[in-house]
Amino acid sequence: MNYIIQTHQLTKHYAGKPVINQVSMNIKEGEIYGFLGPNGAGKTTLMKMLLNLVKPTSGDISIQEQPIMASSYTYLKDIGSLIEYPIFYEELTAQENLKMHCAYMGYKDQNHIKKVLDIVGLQQIERKKVKEFSLGMRQRLAIGRAIVAKPKVLILDEPINGLDPIGIKEVRELLVMLKQQYKMTILISSHIVSEIESIADTIGVLNDGELMEEISMHSLRTKQQATIEMVVSDTKKAKRLLEEDFNANVQIMDARTLIIQQVHKKTSTITKHLIMHDVDVDEVETLHQSLEDYFVKMINGRDQYDSFN
């Protein structure tokens, strides 16, 4: 698998303080890379560095195997982007803004503009000036602008900000479509974890300017084994059985409830085993840890101590 964007020990200092600290990230061609991090973690700065709007203090970036220098600009023709708040020429209409974008990108197919306005759901108001747009409409137009010139790489910074639930769902479906049909590589940042969880192939967690983890969703799912909660008649006996026979990690929560972790057997096998040994099982619940829990745990694990100081 080829890496389309790679950074190596990327660092940015503002007034002597690191905002991005030795970040080495790898984005594979054709994947959706979810970029997670709390507000102020440096997501936007890092994305601006990929677009050469912010220059690194040290470290390297390479995009499509080309090293990016301070004065590089030709590589930008393959990148569509939406950074921070969607910015447009307010006096121009939605359609004119897209036309202008295509002219600057050197993209000639004018018919595609109409199609894109249709995709982002702005076909009715294409002749309205952008200054009359709501935040949601701007966001839709900004996504439209990012994809209109059919770039190979899409860099989207908080693209679902200001969108209604239907809009969020549409954007999610759109991104998956772009990945599948146009083989686009998409880097998307968000602080709403559940949105990324459902579409990303890889996630990178950024906190305080450091890349804390870069992991594929697949291996994350395997890593996060299910936790089983059981209500049984005899907790002590159940604990002993499970520990001895399955080598599981069992905690007794109260007189009747157990929490079982790191068990490599199916739930049905465990239940059967307990019943065979005269332990009645009244309730079984499998708890999946969501990406959100994982994310919060990772960020908090680090900050808990700091926040008390």
């Binding site: 601006k48 709007l53 004065s71 600009y73 121009l92 600057y104 990108m105």
Partner: protein
């Protein structure tokens, strides 16, 4: 390059400035005509020749169009930094210097062009109005009119370049107000006339001074984006 200038023209809807242009020209001309008509019966103050009539026209035009130029600079460059549309522009596969050069060229050509067109237009009207209104003593021949052509061109080219100086002040804090204020001050300084009743003196009359300022304007324009490639966009 021409493509980029055209895009800037379209994007900023520059044709809307033609209305402002005509408004400026009519105001300046109306004002000078009123002065001349008012002073007609006053022997001391009456305007003695075509040249004497055109002097205030040129001074007012220079001042007006240097300020006009700063408004255009503010719109094309300063406000694009302020509203962050410049950030969007810099994500295009075009050299940043080229983008800014296109903007500066457009601002320069528009300012110098309107100054030239404005003065020339007012001279032409004077030629036609003089016989009926008697704006000044004597007459003006078509040859005399044509003879002012080179001076009008050099004046427009120099003032257009001087109009770039406010960029230096405006770019420091990306402020439209600073750009226009500094343009007002610069335009008045350059075109102010000192008179002791008999002889008059204006900075603009000593050719070397506007020439130096014009070169300064061009260098400032260049310096303001010399490092743009390696700087963070803020």
């Amino acid at each position: 390059m021409i493509h980029l200038i055209k895009l800037e023209w379209r994007k900023h809807q520059m044709w809307r400035y033609f209305t402002s242009f005509f408004f400026c020209v009519i105001s300046i001309y109306g004002f000078v005509v009123l002065i001349s008509l008012d002073s007609k019966n006053d022997i001391d103050a009456a305007m003695g020749s075509f040249h004497e009539f055109m002097t205030p026209v040129i001074i007012f035009s220079n001042i007006t169009f240097i300020i006009f130029g700063s408004v255009i600079l503010s719109r094309l460059i300063i406000s694009e930094f302020r509203t962050k549309t410049m950030e969007v522009l810099f994500t295009y596969p075009i050299k940043r210097k080229k983008l800014l050069f296109a903007k500066l060229t457009l601002a320069y050509l528009f300012t110098a062009g309107s100054l030239f067109a404005g003065i020339w237009f007012m001279q032409l009207i004077t030629y036609f109005l003089q016989p009926s209104l008697g704006l000044f003593e004597g007459t003006v021949s078509f040859q005399e009119l044509v003879a002012t052509f080179p001076k009008t061109v050099t004046n427009a080219l120099m003032m257009g370049a001087i109009a770039l100086i406010p960029l230096f002040f405006g770019m420091r804090k990306k402020s439209t107000a600073t750009t226009i204020t500094s343009a007002v001050i610069i335009s008045f300084l350059v075109n102010a006339t000192v008179s002791d009743g008999g002889a008059t003196f204006s900075l603009a009359d000593v050719v070397i001074i506007p020439l130096i300022l014009a070169l300064l304007g061009i260098s400032i324009a260049y310096l303001s984006f010399r490092n743009i490639n390696v700087k963070d966009v803020k």
